[in-house]
């Protein structure tokens, strides 16, 4: 299945807000990192570096590309930070992307963001895809490139853990 450039642009535009939200989740809710990742993803998709083969829905595929792009950005950052630490002999202070965020959340949403940070990455990702983006667990597993059984386990454990954390903070 091959989409023309116009069709791809149309699909990207339709999914733009969802994609931004997913990029935010992949970048520790740092909006500038998310924008950067999203722009790189769009360039990849439009110049053909990432090609949609039609094996899944366009959204599932696009979310996978966004996730890989964010992971690659993170890896580059960590490697650069490690080099700086070696050269400057621990005088360099690490700036961890995703920790500082300029988004201001209302109290309820902020509580959820803080609770999500305490979960493992996989649990956070599965819950985000299911509850936030309305995917099925199968679609979430496809996006993350993991088995459905594994995704179900992450979903169940993550939900239990999140409920505990939110229950504690709300009481």
């Amino acid at each position: 299945m091959t989409l023309t450039r116009d069709e791809i642009e149309r699909e990207l535009e339709q999914l733009h807000h969802e994609s931004f939200a997913w990029a935010l989740a992949c970048c520790g809710r740092n909006p500038s990192d998310a924008e950067d990742v999203l722009q790189t993803t769009y360039l990849k998709v439009l110049d053909g570096s990432a090609r949609y083969a039609g094996r899944s829905t366009f959204r599932t595929w696009l979310f996978g590309v966004i996730r890989r792009t964010a992971a690659s950005k993170w890896r580059n950052f960590v490697n650069r930070d490690r080099l700086l630490r070696v050269f400057f002999q621990h005088q360099h202070e690490a700036i961890v992307p995703g920790v500082d965020t300029s988004l201001e959340y209302p109290a309820n949403a902020d509580r959820l963001v803080q609770a999500l940070r305490l979960l493992s990455q996989r649990q956070r990702e599965v819950l985000q895809l299911v509850f936030y983006h309305g995917m099925t667990i199968e679609e979430a597993a496809n996006t993350l490139g993991i088995g459905v059984g594994s995704a179900r386990t992450h979903y169940a454990r993550g939900k239990r853990s999140l409920a505990n954390k939110l229950g504690k903070t709300s009481s």
Binding site: E9, L12, E13, H16, H17, E18, F20, A21, L24, R29, P31, E35, D36, L38, Q39, T40, Y42, L43, L46, L103, Y105, P106, N108, A109, R111, L112, V113, L127, Q128, F131, Y132, K159, R160, L162, A163, N164, L166, G167, K168, S170, S171
Partner: protein, 133 residues
């Protein structure tokens, strides 16, 4: 499982978060632009940068090819350092202050060598020496 928090409440919290975050999304068209910073480093050069590289390469080749000393294949290190041709010629005939050391007067030195005579002791004389005590 925490009874205070069920799926419905989690979904409601996510829904609130979604409302906040989706409102913060940048314009789609602003991300589709191609600012210089977003271009991959390994990608092709921009036309202006490519032109600048081409002009620089051509000028380097022109300088190399138009220089007669390099063209003939004979490179003079003194000329390369900026000495004039006259200075180089003068330095070729000039004598160095230590050149006199090369003109060693071997014949004169040989005539100054004192004449030495070998002393030949007659064998008979040795035989006439008295025995040691």
């Amino acid at each position: 499982m925490n009874d205070d928090y069920d799926d419905h409440q989690i979904a409601k919290d996510f829904s609130r978060l979604r409302q906040v975050e989706l409102g913060q999304a940048p314009q789609f068209s602003s991300l589709l632009g191609d600012p210089a910073g977003s271009r991959p480093r390994h990608g092709p050069l921009r036309p202006s940068a490519g032109l600048a590289v081409a002009v620089l390469t051509l000028s380097i080749f022109a300088v190399i090819l138009l220089r007669p000393d390099i063209k003939s294949g004979a490179s003079d290190p003194l000329k390369d350092r900026g000495y004039s041709a006259d200075a180089i010629a003068l330095s070729a005939v000039d004598t160095m202050p230590t050149d006199f050391l090369l003109d060693t007067p071997w014949p004169q030195l040989a005539s100054l060598q004192p004449e030495t005579q070998l002393l030949y002791l007659p064998y008979e004389f040795l035989e006439e020496l008295p025995n040691e005590p």
